[in-house]
Subunit: 493 residues, 2 copies
C-alpha cells in the first residue's frame, strides 16, 4: 500500500467510526429516545455531522486524492479510490454556509410539516417549502455546473450514481404507456374475486413473535442485528449491527409483517457487505436503487409469491389461530390485492410506479425551474386523475403533503423506488434462470440457493462495481424494464 | 461575557455534545447491542474518546484558561472556570502514550477477567493486573507530583475532589472500631426473628410493571428517561435523557426492585441538574460520592424504611398476589435483613462498609507501592476474616476477583461508596430536622417535601460548590460519620 492512498484509507476508517456513532444515535432517536431528549440529541448529531464534513473536506484529503492517482494501486484499491473521490467531491462542492442553511431550512420545514399535514395547511407548508426549494436549486446549480448535467440530474446522482433523467424519461414514458391499462384490467379481474379480510385483534407480542420467525426464515443474523418499533419503518445501524424497525397495528398484521420482510431484505444486504473492506467506501451498498432492489426482491418477488406464502401461513395460524381468511387461496389473494389509493406507502406494487412517476415529473420540473412551489397542488391533482383516476383537489394531506422527502430537500430520491422494483424483477428473473428448480426450492422452504446467488452477485461486491456493471454481471444485461412488466402481468393477470 | 471565557464555554459545549453521543452509544452497548457489534462499537467509541481528549487538551484551551483568569467573571462563571481548569489539568497531565497504554491494558485485563473469574484463575488474572497496576502507578506518580499529594490521593481526587487518605483513614478507622461489634449484635438479634422468603416465580413483565410504578412514585420523569435491562445495573445517558437499567430474576424480585430504586436516586439527581448550565462543567453532578449519596438516600434511607415500605407493599401484592411473606412486618424484615457474605454488590448496608474498607486498604497500599499484586489474595483473606469472619483462601472468584473496578485501573473509586452512604445518612438526618413531619409525610405517600429539599440543597447546584461547601450548606456541617452510625443503630438494633 502506498502513501497517499494509505492516508486516505486511515481517514475514511476514522470517518466510518463517526458514521457508526451517527447511525446508532439516529436509530436510538427513532426507537428509544424519550421526547425531552430531542433538542440535545439534534445538537449532538449536528455537531458530529459538522465534524464529519470537516474531516472529509479537509484540503489534505483533496491533495491525497490527487497524489494517489499516480500511485500503483490494484483494481480493488482503484475502485475504492473512485468511491473516495466521489464522496469527497460531493461534499467539497457545497459552501459550508449552504450546507448549514439547507439543514436548518429542512429541519424547520419538516418539523412544521408534521402538524401542517394533519391540519391540511398547504399555505403554511408552502412558505417553508419555498425556502427548501430555493436552497436545493442552489445546491443543484453548483453540482450541475461541476458535473456538466442538468440541475435535477445532479441531485439524482447523489442517490443513484450514473443515472440521468433522459433514461428515466424513457423508462417512465414506457411505463405510462402500459401501466394504467394493466391497472384497470387487474382491478376489474380482482373485483370479481372474493377476498376475506382477517379479523383482529392481533396481539402485538404475537405479531412480534411472528415477525421474528419470518426474519429467521429469511436468514436475518440476530447476533448482528435486532428489530424494534418506530413510527416510520427503516433499516439502520451498521453492517456489523443492523437495526430494522416496524410498527404494529392491533387490527391488521400483514402490513407490519410485510414491512419486516421488506426491511429484512435491506438488512441482509447490509449484513453481507464485504467484511474485508468495512470502513472503506468500497464496502458500502452500491446505491439507493440497488438497496431497494433487495428489499423489494424479498417483499414483492419472494414473499408475496404463491410459492412463499404457504411457508408463512402455518406460522400465522400458529400465532393467531384458524379463521376463514387464512384459507390458502384467500391468504394469497390478500397478499396480492391491488387497490389504487391516495397514499404511496400503502400502495401495492402495480399502482406504486404511478405514485413515483408523478413525483418524479413534479420534482424534476421544480428543481429545473420550470414550475414553482405554488404550481404543485394543481399538477398533483391533474396527474393523480390521469394515472390513478383519483381527485386530490384541496386534499393536501393525502396529496402533495403526504411524504417527508421534499420537506428536507431530498429531491432525486423518489425515482429510486421504481428503479429498485425493476432491478428486483430483473434479478429474480435471472435467479430463476440460473437456479434450477428455484420455485420448487422456495415452495419446499429451501431459500439457500437464492440467498447464495444474491450473496455472489450483489451483496459481496459492495461498491466495487458501478450499478450498470453489477447488474450486467448478475443478469447479463443492464437495466431492462421488461422484466418488471412481465412480472406484473404474470402475477396479476 | 468576555472573550477567552466565552471561547472556553463554546469548547465545553462542543465537548458535551460528543459526551452525549458517547453516553448513548455506551448505554446501547450494555442494553441493546448484539454480540457481533462489539468490535466496531469499541473502535468507534475509542475514536470518539481520542477526539474528546484532543479537543480538551488543545494548547489553545490552556491559553484561554490563563487569559480567563484576568477577565471579569461573576461568581457562577468563576465556579465554571474552576471546573474547566480541573478537567483540563486532569487530562493534560498524562502523556497520550500512557492514556493509550492504560486503555489497552485495561481493556485486555477486563476482557480476560470475565472468563478468568468464572475459572477462578488468579494466576492468569494477576499477569494482566500487574500491567494495569504498573500503568496506574505511573499515572498516580505524575498526578501526585503535580498535586503535591501521595500517589493514591492523586487518583482518589479524580472521583472525589478534595478528599484525601488521611481523612479516609480517620473515618474508616473509626468505623472499624464499632462496625464488627454492631454487625455481630444485629445478626444475633435477627437470628431470633422469623423472616419468610417470598416464593416465586415472579413474572418478569409484572416485575417490570412494578418497577415502573415505583419509579413513578419516586418522581422519575419518563418524558426524559427510560428503564431497560443490562447485566450490571447502572444509570447512564444524559441529564435530558437519563437511562437506568436493572436485571430481573424470576425467583427473586426484591433485588431488581431495590436496584431500580437505587438507580432512580441517581436518575433524579441527573434529571434535576441545573438546566441553564447544561453543556458546561458546572452543570455536572458534584462527585462520585455525592451521586452515590442520592442513590443510597433513595434506597437505604427512604425505600427500606418502615415508613416507605408500606407504600410499595400494595403494589407488590397487586402484581404477585398475596402470600405469607407479604405480611407487613415480614416484608419490612425482609428489606432490612443483614447477612454477611462474600460479595460486595449483594451486601446489606451494615456489612457493606467492611467490603469497602478492605478494598480501600489494599488498593491504597498497592498504588503507593507498599504491596504488590501477588500479595492481594492473602491480604484479602486476612481482612475478610478480620472484618466479616469469612475465609476466602483459594476462592478468588468470590474474593479478590469479584469486582470489575481494578481490571481497568479505577483505583480510588471504592471509598466513594461508603462516603456516599455517610452523606446519605447525614442528608436524611438534616431533611428530617428541616421538614416537619417528614416521616409522617412519607408514610402518607407524600414525598414532595423531601424531593423539594433535595432539589434545593443538592440537585440544582451541580458543581457550583465544592463537596464540603455543598454538604455544609445542606446540613450545617461537613461530613460527619456519626449520622451513619446513628442510622444503623436506630434501624437495626
Amino acid at each position: 500500500m502506498t502513501n497517499a492512498y494509505h492516508n486516505l484509507c486511515t481517514t475514511f476508517t476514522r470517518l466510518s467510526r463517526f458514521e457508526h456513532l451517527s447511525a446508532i444515535a439516529g436509530w436510538d432517536m427513532q426507537t428509544m429516545m424519550p421526547a425531552k431528549g430531542n433538542v440535545a440529541r439534534s445538537e449532538a448529531m449536528a455537531e458530529l455531522n459538522v465534524l464529519q464534513h470537516q474531516i472529509l473536506t479537509n484540503p489534505q484529503v483533496g491533495e491525497w486524492l490527487q497524489q494517489a492517482e499516480s500511485e500503483t494501486l490494484n483494481e480493488i484499491e482503484q475502485a475504492n479510490l473512485r468511491e473516495m473521490r466521489r464522496h469527497y467531491h460531493n461534499a467539497v462542492l457545497l459552501p459550508e454556509a449552504l450546507v448549514e442553511a439547507k439543514s436548518l431550512a429542512g429541519a424547520r420545514c419538516e418539523h412544521a410539516w408534521r402538524q401542517q399535514r394533519i391540519a391540511n395547511d398547504w399555505n403554511g407548508f408552502a412558505e417553508n417549502l419555498r425556502e427548501v426549494v430555493k436552497l436545493s436549486r442552489e445546491e443543484a446549480a453548483i453540482r450541475a455546473q461541476a458535473a456538466g448535467t442538468s440541475r435535477y440530474d445532479a441531485l439524482l446522482n447523489l442517490y443513484e450514481p450514473g443515472t440521468n433523467s433522459a433514461s428515466l424519461d424513457s423508462i417512465f414514458g414506457d411505463l405510462k404507456q402500459w401501466l394504467p391499462e394493466l391497472l384497470q384490467k387487474v382491478t376489474a379481474k380482482q373485483a370479481g374475486e372474493a377476498c376475506l379480510v382477517p379479523q383482529g385483534p392481533f396481539d402485538l407480542e404475537k405479531q412480534r413473535q411472528l415477525g421474528l420467525q419470518v426474519m429467521n426464515l429469511l436468514g436475518f443474523d440476530f447476533d448482528g442485528g435486532r428489530v424494534d418499533i418506530s413510527v416510520h419503518p427503516f433499516c439502520g445501524g451498521v453492517p456489523q449491527d443492523v437495526r430494522i424497525t416496524t410498527r404494529y397495528n392491533e387490527q391488521e398484521f400483514l402490513s407490519a409483517l410485510m414491512g419486516i420482510v421488506h426491511e429484512t431484505g435491506h438488512a441482509r444486504y447490509e449484513q453481507n457487505l464485504p467484511r474485508a473492506w468495512l470502513g472503506q467506501p468500497i464496502s458500502h451498498a452500491r446505491s439507493t436503487a440497488i438497496h431497494e432492489s433487495q428489499s423489494l426482491l424479498f417483499e414483492m418477488q419472494l414473499a408475496r409469491s404463491k410459492e412463499f406464502l404457504p411457508l408463512i401461513l402455518p406460522l400465522v395460524v400458529e400465532q393467531f389461530g384458524e379463521q376463514p381468511a387464512f384459507e390458502m387461496q384467500n391468504f394469497i389473494a390478500l397478499n396480492q390485492r391491488v387497490k389504487t389509493g391516495f397514499i404511496r406507502v400503502d400502495a401495492d406494487e402495480v399502482s406504486y410506479p404511478a405514485h413515483v412517476i408523478l413525483r418524479y415529473e413534479i420534482e424534476k420540473a421544480l428543481i429545473n425551474g420550470e414550475i414553482e412551489v405554488d404550481d404543485i397542488p394543481a399538477l398533483w391533482n391533474e396527474k393523480m386523475q390521469q394515472y390513478l383516476g383519483l381527485n386530490t383537489e384541496g386534499n393536501y394531506q393525502n396529496g402533495c403533503m403526504q411524504d417527508i422527502h421534499w420537506t428536507d430537500g431530498a429531491f432525486g430520491y423518489f425515482p429510486t423506488y421504481t428503479l429498485g422494483a425493476m432491478y428486483a424483477a430483473q434479478l429474480f428473473h435471472a435467479a430463476r434462470s440460473k437456479i434450477p428448480e428455484l420455485d420448487r426450492n422456495i415452495a419446499n422452504g429451501d431459500l439457500s440457493a437464492l440467498f447464495n446467488w444474491l450473496q455472489t452477485t450483489i451483496w459481496q461486491h459492495g461498491s466495487h462495481y458501478s450499478t450498470a456493471e453489477l447488474i450486467t454481471q448478475a443478469t447479463g444485461e443492464s437495466l431492462n424494464p421488461r422484466f418488471f412488466r412481465q412480472h406484473l402481468e404474470q402475477r396479476y393477470l
